[in-house]
């Protein structure tokens, strides 16, 4: 185990961010490169190697956190990476993007600041890439079976990698022009530089996974044809339908879903545009939705040179401490200051948008909001609290309602949906159609990246069993598993 007294001798220390003034002028990741490495072994030594590692339970992937913390403490980076990859296909993604339910569950967190698990994770994988320890794991033998994976987000990529490594021939279909799904176009560059995806895709290609971009199943290839061409199909198409805000003025120019806005900013980074078709430059920006996607919009708007950025959230401001209903080791709703919030802007809680107003050209100019409060468990508007704020660019980041049905994929396969509109599946992640499996947000509804990867891994096991009658692949979660709550 790591140092038994590490947690008594060292306090929590996290990665250093670059100064706000510097980082908002570029799109690189916000952290000082290399700032973790000198402190990370000491930080890893704070791990107590618990008899019941709640972190390992809090992580949907079941990351073997105490084990690689120990390796990181002992600076055996190769072994650490090996143990990290035992449960996680893409630690460089989770190490940057995951909100770390593991740290919420950390036993040290009962009465002290939790171990910096996420920082340890990203240190291990960055080191592994640097040292050339992330080698392709091509299968020694092919099964002769073929699998199509629809969608190249974290769930699809995880399923594809698992199945490829198990010896199956896997093709990943992506309707966008680049691989990565939300990772590619939903996540701003400053949170994760896209070179990390490219590097991982190279590894997957070397292992034998095929990638087909700009092919939309349902439109470009019908589901029936796809099913005929492959022995099994994994639907990992995500929950891409954004929740709308049907209030007067919604049709005005300048009001966009976050998922319309963020991809364009990312495409600038990819070199597709010099100027994005939608930009915050010089505008008063309002972001509706107080979650992580909202924060991504905030950070992006700062970098584009917004005149002001305001983020609205309908729910009350969360506390700094756990509420009685969210005790350790649950993943609590806490007031978070993300890197984007450090960079500026205003956050307004307990408000609801009533309508938008535009100029004569149909461009949005202002947003009318009203304060809300809980009355008998229901959010109710407080009369007399209306106000107007300037808004020349509005992004809607209020979550996603389900998987896209417009392209015909669901209908063509004849997939049953569950009561929440997600694609229904059994304990093996199998849909009602034999040979068709579902993984990720398409089956679970919108969730975290770790759940997506866990779903992809678990579904791969179901597919492997279907194809070969047995499987050695791990299944970290069941489709019905949810995070621990009271």
């Amino acid at each position: 185990m790591a140092d038994p007294k590490g947690f008594l001798n060292h306090g929590r220390e996290v990665a250093t961010s670059r100064p706000v003034g510097e980082r908002v002028r570029d799109w690189n990741e916000v952290y000082v490169p290399g700032s973790l490495l000198p402190i990370i072994s000491k930080q890893a030594s704070r791990c107590m190697d618990c008899g019941i590692p709640f972190c390992h339970n809090g992580c949907p992937l079941g990351n073997l956190i105490p084990e690689w913390n120990d390796y990181a403490y002992r600076e055996d980076w190769e072994a650490a990476s090996e143990r990290l990859h035992a449960t996680n296909n893409f630690p460089e993604f989770t190490g940057r993007l995951c909100p770390a339910p593991c740290e919420s569950a950390c036993v040290l967190g009962i009465n002290q600041p939790a171990v910096t698990i996420k920082n340890v994770e990203v240190s291990i994988i960055d080191k592994a890439w640097d040292n050339g320890d992330v080698a392709p794991q091509a299968p020694e033998r092919l099964s002769g079976k073929t699998v199509a994976v629809i969608g190249s987000g974290p769930a699809g990529l995880a399923a594809a990698q698992q199945l490829t490594r198990a010896g199956h021939t896997v093709a990943v279909y992506e309707r966008a022009d680049r691989i990565g799904g939300l990772l590619r176009y939903g996540i701003p560059e400053f949170k994760m530089e896209k070179r990390h995806i490219n590097r991982r895709i190279e590894q997957m290609r070397a292992e034998g996974t095929k990638f087909r971009t700009e092919v939309e199943i349902g439109r470009d290839i019908t589901a029936r044809d796809l099913r005929k061409r492959y022995d099994a199909v994994v639907v990992a198409a995500g929950a891409t339908v954004s929740r709308d805000l049907p209030v007067p003025g919604r049709e005005l120019n300048g009001i966009h879903f976050a998922m319309e806005y963020l991809p364009l900013a990312n495409k600038v980074q990819e070199g597709d545009y010099v100027q994005p078709p939608i930009t915050a430059e010089g505008k008063h920006v309002v972001v509706i939705g107080g979650g992580d996607t909202g924060a991504d919009c905030v950070g992006t708007a700062h970098r584009q040179g917004a005149a002001s950025v305001t983020q609205l959230e309908i729910m009350p401001k969360p506390g700094d401490e756990r509420s009685p209903g969210q005790p350790w080791p649950t993943f609590p709703m806490l007031y978070k200051v993300t890197s984007a919030h450090e960079e500026g802007g205003e956050r307004i809680y307990s408000v609801s948008t009533t309508h938008f107003e535009g100029d004569e050209d149909g461009n949005v100019q202002s947003l009318h909001l009203i304060e809300v409060e809980f009355v008998d468990g229901k959010l109710t508007q407080k009369p007399g609290t209306e106000r107007v704020i300037p808004a020349q660019l509005v992004t809607l980041a209020m979550g996603f309602t389900g998987t896209d049905q417009e392209n015909g994929l669901v209908a063509q396969f004849g997939l049953d949906l569950d009561e929440r509109g997600n694609i229904a599946r059994d304990a093996d992640y199998r849909t009602n159609v034999p040979g068709v499996y579902v993984a990720g947000d398409a089956g679970r509804g919108q969730s975290l990246i770790v759940w997506a990867i866990a779903e992809g891994r678990s579904a791969a096991r179901g597919v492997d069993r279907f194809l070969t009658g047995a499987s050695e692949l791990p299944a970290p979660i069941r489709p019905t598993d949810r995070a621990l709550t009271v």
């Binding site: 947690f7 008594l8 107590m48 190697d49 008899g51 709640f54 990859h85 569950a105």
Partner: protein, 1029 residues
């Protein structure tokens, strides 16, 4: 916290066959032994090769190979294989038999291959082989290794059946051997030596990686492994009281749990297996599952998964399930902290619901009452039920004051009972009705066991064995002996404390009866418990315990106990309480002993269902330890031994103790919830009280259909058997034990001392002088008198010699046990064993009868184990005494004129003076106190304390002169008189034995006191001296 994962027979994972066996251990019937402190009686040597006819010894009989160690490396194995390569060992031919089988053939192929190997062994012996090596090397994609234990035992028993066993020695070369338990089993089933080649290669690999074993050579690491495995076997043997490998080999001191009877009879003949279980087919399936990991059917090994994720010792999601996992810990804590019975039910549902994941034997049980349910309102209230609950014996020292008091406060509030655990109780709590623990434990170390401690108990518990590590003692390392711990234990801060494996006053059931009697005399109002651990035969022991007049017998499960135990004991010693409790109940009923003793059980009790099942199997009281700790904040860190408990429970570190967040009300909630659940179940079963339900095992069955590849072979019916009982026979305790106190000589003494006892204060007590005859049927004389003194005047007793009684004759055992200050017992005659046991400040003087004409210094005046666990007072013994003189003395001054072996063993304080010969192994495990010995033969001093022998300084000399003078005055000793007559030369014959840490601590204390430091700083200096020394 012990183990809470499934036993092998219930595990969904393939388990090594070793896991189906548990180690037997000695409790009551014979003592376990301390292989560290009494190493001189142990031996790991064994001889290998044919054994000649004992009745016709010839030169050839001596032709055998002596192995110094039962675990051998590859070189040694090669030497044995080629032993006659030079032709200088004629007749010593060796043959290696390949222990592989065609894995696809399943159990049939496995069985057939074993038959073949037995035939090969026959042929080899016929051809003159005298050493047979059973090897599982060279397995491949088709051939899997036969489990080495199965193969070894099979060949061993085959050779016994065919009367060839003495002609050959068996060596085992096996890849599946890596733990102490594995080696112990192989030796226990006939192997002369074991070569764990894969374990050694793994160590080599670890050394090469350098991560965990930096700075060590592979060769040294392998030597360390071999040494640890061998020494570990010694420890396992010593739990059973076996001291040599030669006598352990083939002794089969194991119990099988979950193995089929016919299978055991065939391959492990003579081993007990009570509930049936798996046979060769499942064993083959388990081998095949492991084999498939190495050679997957797909031909594609899993990426990044060279090693499986274990989860046996620490919970892992993919690993073995544990009863306490994130879900149950969280729900239990949340339910009890917020008094939410609905969440508590979710917790118990998850613990009880075992259809998907089998965890415990009781998980397989169903209720089949056929009785009419009754309204829950008719069931006795929860407030009655909680009185039957107690918390586990966790010492103050092993857990923090905060945690210890939380449990005590909760139990006192509820009317249940908490347990001091070994290590005494702070007088501050002793008299505080809110914070006291009503059960006072008496363990082998006797720490803090004073007259005052015993007098203030409701129950006194004799710990014969401990669930997590039955047959073992314990050790509180010096750095954990904080001043406050030292105070309650009557020891020195910073100085380590050892609890011996046996009670040195219990080597038989008679001795146990004696200790029960002693304790009953020390507090006639207290119930005396005897704590046993479940294993085969525990019923017989319990029957003995009942006959020995214990008021309560506690059957502990193997799964109870601390996270600080050795892993091999945690996992492999003792059995589930279900088995031990059923056996106990049945044996007590059959022998008509049930109605006079209360039966209690503990071991991972977690739910109301557990309690009701225990009641139906025969328990009327119930102990809980892990669950209330979890309620208090324990998160099963399993680092109890490291003093780093992050939630302030198993630690004395003040910083960590501040992080303790438990509250008594949470614990109260827990027990009330449990009681509520018990009531619900009782109502369903149609019982109005626990008492009505006790012993109705016939209401249990295994209806809970079990469709599990391993568990379906289990036959639990024997557990549900109720012996034919005469009409009206009760199944629970009804009458009190007759302790025979009415006949005690002490009744007389108490009358004689009435003048002193009648005083209002100690100062007013009038001196009493009396003389009375004594016979050896008068046992434990003076103890009840002492009890009266302590009850009346408290721990400080009376002024010295207030009650001064002279006895003439031969005293029975335990003369002067636990006698407090103010009582002086003079015996003119002789005494038996245990004189001055637990002496608590009183004085005991034994001299030969005034008319005796023998030379006292050459005769034995008193027996073994004098002043065991004494905390204060004086003993002058004119004559020789037996073995283990002053064992675990922590405060008394004791003088004898010659002592047997193991003198001053485990002593932690006080003074011992020996004016005559000293036996072997003197001062073994002695960590404190000072011994003054005349004409000491350095060879007789235990190696651990060889450096503690030194000459006397002037202070010593003066002190010693005074003691010898008083010895002479009190006893009329001629030896003392002679020494005093020529003191200046006599004193040079003395050596002083003072353990080095103890000496350093005393010096620090002295220096600090002279510097005028306040008390807290003095103890700080003492701790410093101890840890740096």
């Amino acid at each position: 916290m012990g183990t809470d994962s499934p036993i092998a027979a219930l595990s969904a994972r393939p388990r090594l066959i070793f896991d189906y066996f548990t180690q037997l251990f000695a409790q009551v019937t014979n003592p376990p032994l301390d292989a560290i402190r009494e190493e001189l009686v142990t031996s790991l040597h064994s001889s290998l090769g044919p054994q000649g006819n004992l009745l016709e010894p010839t030169a050839a009989s001596c032709r055998s190979v002596t192995l110094p160690f039962p675990v051998i490396d590859n070189d040694e194995l090669a030497k044995l294989i080629h032993i006659n390569a030079d032709g200088d060992m004629p007749g010593m031919t060796s043959v290696t038999l390949s222990g592989l089988y065609r894995v696809s053939g399943g159990g049939d192929a496995l069985g057939a291959r074993i038959e073949e190997i037995c035939a090969e062994a026959d042929a080899a012996i016929e051809a003159g082989a005298r050493l047979i090596v059973l090897s599982d090397r060279h397995s491949d994609a088709e051939h899997a290794p036969i489990p080495s234990l199965l193969l070894t035992a099979a060949v061993h028993h085959h050779l016994i059946r065919t009367k060839q066993r003495t002609q050959v020695g068996l060596l085992v070369e096996a890849g599946d051997v890596r733990e102490v338990h594995h080696v112990a089993l192989l030796i226990g089933y006939g192997a002369a030596a074991v070569n764990p080649y894969l374990a050694m290669e793994s160590v080599e690999d670890l050394v090469r990686a350098g991560t965990f074993l930096p700075g060590i050579e592979a060769e040294q690491a392998i030597r360390n492994l071999i040494y640890a495995l061998g020494k570990g076997v010694l420890k396992v043997m010593s739990k059973m009281g076996i001291s040599t490998v030669a006598s352990y080999r083939g002794a089969q001191v194991f119990e099988a749990v979950g193995l089929d009877e016919a299978f055991v009879e065939r391959y492990f003949n003579g081993t007990t297996t009570k509930i049936g279980g798996v046979g060769i087919d499942v064993i083959a399936e388990e081998v095949a599952a492991r084999h498939a990991k190495a050679y997957p059917a797909s031909g594609v090994p899993s990426a990044h998964r060279a090693l499986e994720i274990g989860g046996e010792y620490q919970w892992r999601r993919e690993g073995e399930p544990h009863l306490f996992d994130p879900d149950t810990v969280f729900r239990l804590q949340h339910a009890t902290r917020n008094r939410r019975y609905d969440i508590f039910k979710k917790y118990t549902d998850r613990v009880n619901e075992q259809s998907e994941r089998l965890m415990t034997l009781r998980g397989l049980f169903g209720f089949n009452s056929g009785r009419e349910p009754i309204s829950i309102d008719e069931v006795e209230p929860a407030s009655e039920i909680v009185k039957r609950f107690s918390t586990g014996a966790m010492s103050y020292g092993s857990i923090s004051r905060e945690a210890h008091e939380t449990l005590a406060i909760a139990m006192n509030q509820l009317g249940g009972k908490s347990n001091t655990g070994e290590g005494g109780e702070d007088p501050e709590r002793l008299y505080d009705p809110a914070r006291r623990s009503s059960i006072k434990q008496v363990a082998s170390g006797r720490f803090g066991v004073t007259s005052e401690y015993l007098v203030n108990s409701d129950d006194i518990q004799i710990k014969m064995a401990q669930g997590a590590k039955p047959g073992e003692g314990g050790q509180l390392p010096g750095h954990k002996v904080y001043p406050w711990v030292a105070k309650t234990r009557h020891s020195t801060p910073g100085v380590g404390l050892i609890s011996p494996p046996p009670h040195h006053d219990i080597y038989s059931i008679e001795d146990l009866a004696q200790l029960i009697h002693d304790l009953k005399n020390a507090n006639p109002k207290a119930r005396i418990h005897v704590k046993l651990v479940s294993e085969v035969g525990v019923g017989t022991v319990a029957a003995g315990v009942s006959k020995a007049h214990a008021d309560v017998v506690l059957i502990s499960g193997h799964d109870g106990g601390t996270g600080a135990s050795p892993l091999t004991s945690l996992k492999h010693a003792g059995g589930p309480w279900e088995l031990g409790l059923a056996e106990t109940q049945q044996t007590l009923l059959l022998n008509g002993l049930r109605d006079r003793i209360v039966v209690q059980t503990d071991g991972q009790l977690k739910t109301g269902r557990d309690v009701v099942i225990a009641a139906l199997l025969g328990a009327e009281e119930f102990g809980f330890a892990t669950a209330p700790l979890v309620v208090s904040g324990c998160v099963m860190m399993r680092v109890c031994h490291l003093d780093t408990c992050p939630v302030g429970i198993a630690t004395q570190n003040p910083t960590l103790r501040e992080r303790f967040s438990g509250k008594a009300e949470y614990v109260v909630n827990f027990f009330e919830f449990i009681a509520e659940e018990v009531r619900e179940l009782l109502a369903e079963l149609g019982f109005r009280s626990i008492e009505e339900a006790v012993g109705h095992a016939e209401l249990l069955d295994t209806e809970r259909a079990v469709n599990h590849w391993k568990a379906q072979g289990l036959d639990l019916e024997p557990l549900f058997h109720v012996p034919d009982l005469p009409e009206g026979a009760v199944r629970h305790q009804l009458v009190e034990q007759d302790h025979g106190l009415a006949k005690a000589l002490d009744n007389e003494l108490i009358k004689l001392a009435s003048d002193a006892l009648a005083a209002d204060t100690a100062e007013d007590a009038r001196p009493v002088r009396a003389q009375i005859a004594i016979r050896n049927i008068n046992r434990t004389v003076g103890t009840m008198l002492g009890h009266e003194v302590t009850r009346k005047f408290g721990g400080a007793g009376l002024p010295d010699d207030t009650v001064d009684i002279t006895f003439t004759g031969s005293a029975g055992q335990s003369f002067g046990a636990f006698v407090p200050r103010g009582v002086t017992l003079r015996l003119e005659g002789d005494a038996n064993d245990y004189v001055g046991k637990g002496l608590s400040g009183g004085r005991v003087i034994v001299r030969p009868d005034r008319g005796a004409d023998h030379l006292a210094e050459y005769s034995t005046i008193a027996g073994n184990t004098i002043a065991y666990g004494a905390t204060g007072g004086e003993l002058f013994l004119r004559g020789r005494t037996g073995e283990r003189f002053c064992v675990r003395n922590s405060g008394a001054t004791v003088v004898s004129e010659g002592v047997g072996d193991h003198g001053c063993e485990y002593m932690t304080g006080g003074h011992a003076v020996v004016l005559g010969e000293t036996g072997r192994n003197f001062a073994a495990g002695m960590s404190g106190g000072i011994a003054y010995v005349i004409d000491l033969d350095q060879d007789n001093v235990n190696a651990g304390n060889a450096g503690a022998v030194e000459p006397l300084d002037d202070t010593d000399k003066q002190w010693l002169h005074d003691v010898v003078r008083r010895h002479q005055e009190e006893t009329g000793s001629t030896v003392a008189a002679k020494l005093l007559a020529e003191w200046d030369t006599a004193v040079t014959r003395f050596s002083r034995i003072i353990p080095s840490t103890y000496k350093a601590v005393l010096a620090a204390k002295d220096a600090a006191e002279r510097a005028g430091l306040p008390e807290s700083e003095i103890t700080e200096k003492m701790m410093e001296a101890a840890t740096h020394g």
